[in-house]
């Protein structure tokens, strides 16, 4: 609680650091934020061609681009959280060495700054929803708690990996690889129903399953998320956050000596 209060007093710093990240990423770039549109659009196009047209993956009766985008969006939010949060301490070493502020400010600001791209992707997704005339139901509001759980999980993991990354830079490299594997262990390009029944119990221990599946169902099918799956995700997210926070706080003051 005390940490949260202190973090609140540093909200302007978080805002300014996030804005810095956004500004810097668009400086000296001719197309600027157009890239944030082109990249997810191309990914969806490629996935559709490869997995729907060529490999003929089923998609629960939903048009495949919509089906895969509906999962890719929450997934991208997760990879962005990890991708921006983990290296944020090392890349801001000069600040850590010179000035005091609560160190969570750095991963938090990086994640917020990087999430703009996700927001732009979301805008394309909305365009796609309108194009395919998807009927929304009140269940759409489930995406709010789902995204909150996802953030808690991603932030906790980013705190943990970010801390280890201060000691061993290998983590940044390994994370990229881990996320690639992780994507295939999450129902993004294929439906959950394609996972063989006998592996299902093990498969759903991946907290991203409940999150991605819940998000896609709430938006595209207009149905309530599977509470059993989401329950597993929530429990693991809380656990992940507590572990990440604990490790981060325990090591926070050693960063300056090893970074």
């Amino acid at each position: 609680m005390k940490h949260l209060m202190e973090l609140f007093t540093y909200r302007e710093l978080i805002y300014n650091l996030a804005m810095k990240q956004i500004k810097v990423s668009f400086k000296q770039s001719f197309l600027g934020f157009v890239w944030a549109i082109v990249k997810p659009a191309c990914t969806v196009l490629i996935l559709t061609v490869v997995f729907s047209r060529i490999a003929k993956f089923p998609s629960d009766g939903i048009p495949y681009p919509l089906f895969t985008f509906g999962a890719l969006l929450p997934w991208t939010f997760f990879t962005t959280t990890i991708g921006a949060g983990v290296p944020s301490l090392v890349s801001n070493a000069n600040l850590i060495k010179k000035i005091y502020f609560p160190r969570e400010v750095l991963p938090l600001a990086s994640i917020i700054g990087a999430s703009l791209d996700v927001l732009i992707s979301a805008a394309i997704f909305i365009v796609l929803l309108i194009f395919y005339k998807v009927g929304l139901t009140l269940n759409i509001f489930f995406i709010i708690p789902i995204l909150a759980i996802e953030f808690l999980f991603g932030f906790g993991l980013a705190l943990l990996l970010g801390t280890i990354n201060v000691w061993y830079r290998d983590v940044t490299q390994a994370t990229g690889l881990l996320l690639q594997f992780w994507m295939y262990l999450t129902p993004i390009i294929y439906p959950l129903s394609m996972v063989p029944e006998k592996y299902r119990a093990l498969y759903v221990l991946n907290p991203m399953v409940g999150i991605v599946e819940g998000f896609r169902n709430a938006v595209l099918k207009g149905i309530m998320p599977d509470m059993h799956l989401l329950g597993i995700s929530t429990a693991l997210a809380v656990l992940m956050y507590l572990v990440g926070h604990f490790v981060f706080k325990a090591k926070e003051f050693d960063f300056v000596d090893v970074i």
């Binding site: 810097v24 400086k27 600040l95 060495k97 000596d257």
Partner: protein, 423 residues
């Protein structure tokens, strides 16, 4: 009520390089199996440091490289935590640990003012209010909307300094920031620091190597050595002790080179064998001289070839290489032709007006075309003492004490008082 309390603070670092993940895991594995694991030796950057600072004090922290000065400032500004002991700080702290930390090249000057201001703990409203002042002080009005990677390094540093010193805090922590930018800006920085300190009554801790500047603005000084505070007190006294200590080290080094003095450059035609000092008419060499006594500098040298029309220059500098004076044999009517062999020369300075402290001799030989044949600095040290002069009546600082005349016509007619009193 002390504003800063440092209680028995020790900071240890582990020496050696952090090895790979594999190395760490193997060691953890060995430890689990009860094997002996070689431990890295801790290095004490600070060793049981204990002091208090009262509000309004301006404390300068000096010491040789690696004495623990920056570690101490880092602990005081909460960047680092002590291994043992604790600190208590009452009031807000503005850490000027290094000017320009966190400036971003791709952002404009304006954007950087806001970003850096918030890094240093200023709110948006506060920066809005101070914005014009910050820009004006940095003299960057024209360039404030240009990305700062297009700035010269001096301009970046000016911006950094200007933002950093606009922070309002009870305690300022400064590390080597006084000398930034060109000479004119350095002057401005120094004035700003003095203004912050003297007019606004802030408590300040400064670490620096420019000891003369520190001596001027500090009300108290601490000398750190190998992580311990070995001296703490009034600036002039501490500085002099520091010079003496630095000097003893230099002397130690020099005393290993008995018989020949090693210059910094030599063409081989001339060697300097010894430099000696005499006080007045006394012919016993000494390294201690009373202020206003005459100083004779004797030089034993050897020419390896016949030399024609050479010039000898002798200079005096402080132990931190502030040059005070030089004299050249070219000002004498003599033409200096030395045949190959050993020679001696003497140079006399009557009424030596050097203030108390430690000085050293620099010397060079030139041939008739002013090509250097031999030169060196810090060749031999000289201590000036002031047992004859009442120091309580002397100004506390300054390098040379010139013989001024004082004249008070309405009090004493036709009588001048000369300092020193002519005996």
């Amino acid at each position: 009520m002390s504003i800063i309390e440092v209680n028995n603070v020790t900071k240890e670092y582990r020496l050696g390089q952090l090895k790979s993940l594999k190395h760490t895991l193997m060691k953890a594995f060995d430890r689990l199996h009860g094997k002996e694991v070689e431990k890295l030796k801790p290095f004490k950057a600070l060793d049981s440091v204990d002091f208090k600072v009262e509000p309004g004090e301006v404390v300068g922290i000096i010491g040789t490289n690696g004495a623990g000065k920056s570690t101490l400032l880092k602990i005081l500004s909460r960047i680092s935590v002590p291994t043992k002991g604790n600190i208590k700080v009452k009031g807000s702290v503005a850490p000027l640990i290094e000017v320009g930390a966190g400036l971003v090249g791709d952002l404009t000057g304006r954007e950087n003012v806001y970003l850096n201001g918030s890094i240093l703990g200023l709110s948006r409203a506060q920066i809005d209010k101070k914005f014009d002042e910050i820009v004006a002080f940095a003299e960057l009005e024209q360039f404030i909307d240009t990305p700062i990677k297009r700035y010269s390094s001096g301009m970046q540093v000016r911006l950094g300094f200007s933002i950093a010193t606009s922070v309002d805090a009870d305690i300022l922590i400064v590390d080597e920031v006084l000398a930034v930018g060109d000479l004119a800006f350095q002057r401005k920085c120094f004035d700003r620091m003095e203004e912050l300190i003297k007019n606004r009554g802030k408590t300040v801790l400064i670490v620096g190597h420019n000891i003369r500047q520190l001596e001027r603005i500090c009300s108290r000084m601490m000398l750190l050595d190998k992580g311990k505070i070995i001296l703490d007190g009034e600036p002039v006294a501490i500085c002099n002790k520091f010079y003496n200590m630095t000097n003893e080290k230099v002397e130690e080094k020099l005393s290993h080179e008995i018989g020949n003095i090693i210059g910094h450059g030599s063409s081989g035609e001339i060697e300097v064998n010894d430099i000696v000092f005499f006080e007045g008419d006394n012919n016993t060499p000494t390294q201690d001289l009373e202020i206003y006594e005459s100083l004779r500098i004797g030089v034993y040298f050897k020419t390896n070839v016949d030399v024609q029309g050479i010039e000898v220059v002798i200079g005096i500098h402080t132990s931190d290489f502030v040059f005070i004076t030089k004299t050249s044999s070219a000002m004498t009517p003599h033409r200096l032709n030395f045949p190959k062999g050993k020679h001696y020369l003497e140079c006399n300075l009557p009424n030596t007006p050097l203030g108390p402290g430690v000085y050293a001799i620099g010397m060079s030989f030139f041939d008739q075309y002013r090509r250097p044949m031999w030169y060196g600095e810090n060749l031999k040290t000289l201590r000036i003492a002031t047992s004859k002069i009442d120091m309580t009546k002397m100004p506390a600082s300054g390098l040379v004490y010139l013989p001024f005349d004082w004249y008070f016509p309405s009090l004493v007619k036709n009588e001048r008082t000369t300092i020193p009193p002519s005996s």
